[in-house]
């Protein structure tokens, strides 16, 4: 606070250096925020459309599944799906996006390409439809996971950056500026006081030397 600082030239220099750093940091962070925001806007649109697509297609698959479970007994359904033919695994790599580490997935399927893990004799056609639809949607689901995670992480980073920018802009920089101003005023005041004192002393000395009235 303005009252707690020492009005010295050293303090003034220190504060000036800090102000310079703060201003520079502020402009850098502002640039970072703007670029993050630009990327965020691109990816958030993608996320929105992808999510709508996935939700719609999953709803379709779930509807087929409901039909299948209505036709087949629950035990049969469970049995049909009990042993999957395929296994999925995900290779996980990270990508650095403006200092934010976001995951990237690489998707491997083990097992043969046929999606249906059961024979056709005991199951209904609706189950086939459901499974095929799910399989087709799955690529999109995976993409959704990547995009959505990126959006979440970016959002967090943008919020942090925005707060820092605001803290610098509305708190740090104005405070430093008022402190600098305070010190400058105080120093000038001291200087003026000093000059007046010198003038007075000079007058006194002159008065004594020339024995003026």
């Amino acid at each position: 606070m303005a009252t707690a600082i020492k009005p010295t030239r050293m303090e003034l220099n220190r504060l000036r250096a800090r102000l310079k750093t703060a201003v520079r940091g502020h402009s850098l962070l502002k640039d970072k925020r703007d670029e993050l925001m630009r990327r965020f806007m691109l990816i958030v649109k993608e996320n929105k459309s992808l999510r709508e697509k996935v939700e719609e297609r999953l709803a379709g698959a779930m509807a087929s599944l409901s039909l299948a479970s209505a036709i087949m007994s629950p035990e049969m359904l469970e049995q049909a799906l009990l042993y999957p033919k395929r296994r999925v695994s995900v290779g996980l790599t990270y990508r650095n996006l403006m200092g934010v580490t976001v995951p990237e997935y690489e998707f491997h399927t083990e097992g043969n390409g046929d999606a249906l893990p059961y024979g056709y004799a005991m199951t209904s056609g609706e189950l086939d439809d459901a499974i095929v639809e799910l399989t087709n949607t799955f690529t999109d689901m995976l993409e959704l996971a990547r995009v959505e995670k990126t959006v979440q992480l970016l959002a967090g980073e943008i919020e942090k950056t925005r707060r820092r920018v605001n803290a610098l802009e509305y708190v740090m920089i104005p405070e430093l500026q008022t402190n600098i101003k305070y010190i400058r005023m105080k120093l000038e005041e001291n200087e003026r006081g000093n000059i007046t004192r010198l003038m007075k002393v000079k007058d006194a000395i002159l008065a004594e030397a020339h024995s003026f009235s």
């Binding site: 993050l36 965020f40 999510r51 799906l81 395929r86 999925v88 996980l92 995951p103 997935y105």
Partner: protein, 108 residues
Amino acid sequence: MKPSDYKIAILGDKDSVTAFKALGLHCVAAENAQEAKRELRALSAAEEKFAIIYITEQLAQDIPEEVAAYREIAVPALILIPSKAGSLGLGSAALTQSAERAAGVKLF
């Protein structure tokens, strides 16, 4: 198994989840919030690493704190999907919320 091989799990009510077994996902059934919390913890602690955990919106709405906690972590990604009963709009709501957090104002 290579260290980079991660798995995908799906958490939800039994009816919604079983079909995903055919795709080769790790399916976990949970019927209520308590079970969901427990299973989610078990998934995080499991020896096999999960890169993505899909969770049905119906379950997610009962455990908002857990879902929120996963938002800041890169791995695993907790992704909401609609369950058998249809979409609750939670996934889209979360998206809107992310956008709001980022921009500081309501976007859409």
